[in-house]
Symmetry: C2
Subunit: 336 residues, 2 copies
DNA sequence: GGAGATTACGTTAACGCTAACGTTATTAAC
DNA sequence: GTTAATAACGTTAGCGTTAACGTAATCTCC
């Protein structure tokens, strides 16, 4: 004989109707006269009735929770993707259970496992590389799943993103066209971020295909933060010799690198070219605009969420959606 | 007669024990022999058993979800606070339901209302200003609540943060000591961010108390992003006259402002002083270090989460915890 | 070797809600 | 004025789990 909190039953008693009528009134479904519905809602409010989502989800065998897994919050990129998605989901009445993996596949797997106990309406993962268990569990649970930020022809369920290898190639190609001949790359240790690795592959391919092939020097070791890592990368490169153009993993690192160049007395773009990635807000206020690639982050979130909502409602959607990037040309003294 | 998925019952049948024994085995509580427990776990894994948190939460009348409400993701500050909290909560087995209010109290209230239907173990709100309903509902639901980033003597439940007015005062006092006489402030429209408003009050007080009182010119209109807003603020100020020191709402805006100063041919710190807030990573790579205040963001998250966990377990903790900030002196040509 | 304590289970009844179906009023149709 | 259709409710059972209590077996100690 527990019972103390006010539930649908207490409201029903107070309103002298059945529990089912209260349930209907509160959910706003058909089968209750407008007069009675208003009366019930009034009483529910008076009694401070708070619906119990746990009970509801148990009864209907699903929830209005969506799980979202990101590598990290310490990067505006994911914040913007997230903002795009959440706007759409909030409007549809879903709440977001969010996790950050800190780039650890094991951590992602553990989280998915825990998440599944909540019977979420959908799951969103970042990237297309997961432990085999993850895809298998999501598939066998039949949960609509969106992979975002990267694309593959064979997603777990559906995916929306950009082609990172092609993006890298486009940036590399542009640099080749401008006549750069001793390129370098500053990023994270290979293997930590598969998207970054793909971009580097694209850059390399562009230089291999160029009029004459140029090897790329690769630098970059883990640092406390991206700005420092970019600066440290430049320091590392300059110990040996001066490249004529440096590609960075992203704009954060590019900015750190720029500052380091300044310390070393190198002018941009006269002495050294700088290429970033993402076209963050930061780059719009720089005195010297750098070359970068604008990624459709917000749009990605919106399109992804929309497709996923369609999947939830059983509407068929494209399994793979690749969004275009836009090359932003920085200031340069070369070419054309 | 629904039933199809595998629950505790199916596992029990397969293992030829009662449901209760399975429940005990899975939760790892006493009352099952080690041999039987191992056998049950083996069978559960074989049947792909996935616990149902909805049913569990319904039965025990609470969940292992914590709700976290932030103003926005578009600010490293909140990302770091969040990281500090989540580390602690993940370890304790809680999942985070996260919301961003975009600085709208109404949005926060709607979210709290929805969240309460999940019977969360705890709720974390940013700041101490909420619609009256919010505190009232959380209190009457008896849910441990943490207010973070700002402090008050009368929190909803407990709070951990910094004293923004005092922080502003400290920064202002420092500038007064250096002899600055025509200060200006660039921020968001008053009323949007109460913490920023409090800091501005502190800065004003410092200048009012100075050897001789100096009025502060206030600029700042909404922009697409913080960097642009900082730059626009400088443009706006310079249309009239040149202040000798400019306080910015935060480091992001300070950086935008610095870039704008460069455009206008103003050197820092010779022609104009720049003061930011937060000591973001960004400021560590600048060619000219600016004055700013280091806020203990990660620590705030950790301490907050720890206190909240104590509250959840019924351990009494201080209601209000104020953490200290550290003034970071930038480069300057004045004073001392 | 028997009273008491302990261990290892099983039974029963909730937790709050909703799907499915059943029942009673009300209206419409001829 | 009877029948058929519809709207507006009520009953019942079940969602998967756990708390509380019950029972049987084993152990402990003098």
């Amino acid at each position: 004989m527990r019972r103390s909190s006010v539930g649908i039953r207490e409201v029903a008693e107070a309103a002298k109707v059945s529990m089912m009528t209260v349930s209907r009134a509160i959910r706003g479904v058909e089968g209750v006269s407008e007069k009675k519905r208003a009366e019930i809602l009034r009483i529910a409010k008076k009694l401070n009735y708070v619906p119990n989502s746990n009970a509801r989800s148990l009864a209907v065998e699903n929830s209005n929770l969506v799980g979202i897994s990101l590598p990290t919050f310490a990067n505006d990129v994911f914040a913007e993707i997230l903002a795009g998605m959440r706007g759409t989901f909030e409007g549809a009445g879903y709440a977001s259970v969010i996790d950050t993996t800190e780039y650890s596949p094991e951590s992602e797997q553990r989280w998915v496992e825990r998440l599944l106990t909540w019977r979420p309406a959908a799951v969103i993962l970042t990237g297309i590389d997961h432990l085999p268990d993850v895809g298998q569990k999501l598939r066998s649970a039949g949960i609509p799943t969106l992979e975002i930020w990267d694309v593959t022809a064979d997603p777990i369920d559906i995916c929306v993103g950009i082609d990172h290898e092609a993006a890298g190639y486009e940036l590399g190609r542009y640099a080749v066209t401008l006549g750069y001949q001793s390129p370098a790359y500053v990023g994270a240790p290979i293997g930590r971020d598969r998207r970054a690795d793909a971009r580097l592959r694209g850059i390399k391919r562009a230089f291999d295909e160029g009029p004459c092939s140029h090897p790329i020097r690769v630098a970059g070791r883990p640092e406390r933060h991206a700005f420092g890592a970019g600066a440290a990368g430049i320091d590392e490169l300059l110990q040996e010799s001066r490249p004529d153009v440096v590609f960075f993993l992203n704009d954060h690192m590019a900015f750190g690198g720029m500052m380091a160049c300044g310390r070393h007395g190198l002018r941009i773009p006269q002495d050294i070219g700088v290429v970033g990635f993402n076209a963050l807000d930061l780059t719009t206020v720089l005195p010297v605009p750098i070359t970068t690639a604008k990624t459709p982050r917000r749009q990605m979130g919106v399109v992804g969420a929309r497709n996923l909502l369609a999947r939830i409602h059983g509407v068929a959607t494209e399994r793979t959606t690749t969004l275009p990037i836009t090359l932003i040309a920085g200031e340069t003294t070369r070419g054309e």
